[in-house]
């Protein structure tokens, strides 16, 4: 992958996208975008909140159409690299049960200067929430589980 000086052509567009069923190693996600040509490195970590609008969340649970989710995450990752002139980009989303305080999603971007890295991370998070076939349920302390399918969201797949 990236992080060492070598054949520059293979370092370009480095990074990865994926889903995992265990705790996200956020340091590793950040390390994946390190490069001698990157002066700005941003790591965004989205974590499970213990309360939302006053309601206690026992845990979050994520479901996904995994092949389509991974393909979409990777397409967004490549799009971010092209749009923002990134050196590298990595995206990891966790699936299954996520207790409060633990990471649900991690996005790392690197660019020659920090502005592009920050902007790309923000753009990616917005795109992930809008486009990737992953769903979140809030598990309540009483065992109830509510899947979130936002009314305001456009039909997935876009276009039509």
């Amino acid at each position: 992958m990236s992080g060492t000086r070598g054949d520059l052509s293979t370092q370009r567009h480095a990074g990865h996208a994926g889903c995992v069923g265990h705790a996200i190693d956020t340091a590793r996600v950040l390390a994946a975008v390190g490069d001698v040509d990157a002066g700005g490195n941003v790591l965004f970590v989205g974590t499970a909140r213990g309360t939302t609008d006053g309601a206690v969340t026992h845990a979050l649970n994520y479901d996904a159409h995994e092949p389509l989710a991974v393909a979409t995450l990777d397409a967004l990752r490549r799009d971010a690299i092209a749009r923002f002139g990134l050196v590298a980009c990595a995206v990891v989303h966790r699936l299954g049960t996520v207790p409060p305080g633990e990471a649900c999603v991690a996005v790392a971007t690197s660019a020659p200067h920090r502005a592009a890295a920050f902007a790309a991370a923000e753009w990616l998070m917005t795109a992930i929430k809008r486009d990737v076939p992953i769903w979140k349920a809030e598990e309540r302390p009483d065992g109830r589980r509510e899947w979130l399918h936002p009314e305001s969201a456009p039909r997935p797949g876009g276009g039509s």
């Binding site: 159409h65 389509l68 992953i134 979140k136 936002p150 009314e151 969201a153």
Partner: protein, 90 residues
């Protein structure tokens, strides 16, 4: 013997469902006899079989493999079909 032969020959469409849609249809897959048709036909059949899912279904997309498909796209019984309701990841 006859009935099992018949079952093997009768084409079935298997649709993967997720999240709230899985709760509404009571499982991770919806299966129905399929002699051919479009996404719109499958959409109508799923809604008829699972009325509580009709509203969420109307806000959902369909995918075959790792591509979204439009309502007028034809579906074959061996296609890897999935219903994709509005997403909430991140």
């Amino acid at each position: 013997m006859l009935s099992s032969d018949h079952r093997e020959r009768s084409p079935t469409l298997r649709i993967a469902v997720f999240a709230g849609m899985a709760d509404l249809v009571g499982g991770r897959t919806v299966e129905m006899p399929w002699s051919g048709g479009t996404v719109a036909d499958a959409r109508r059949l799923v809604a008829e079989r699972h009325p509580p899912a009709a509203i969420l279904l109307s806000r959902s997309a369909f995918a075959v493999g790792s591509h979204y498909v439009a309502d007028d796209a034809p579906l074959a019984a061996d296609d890897d079909v999935a219903i994709i309701p509005p997403v909430s990841g991140g």
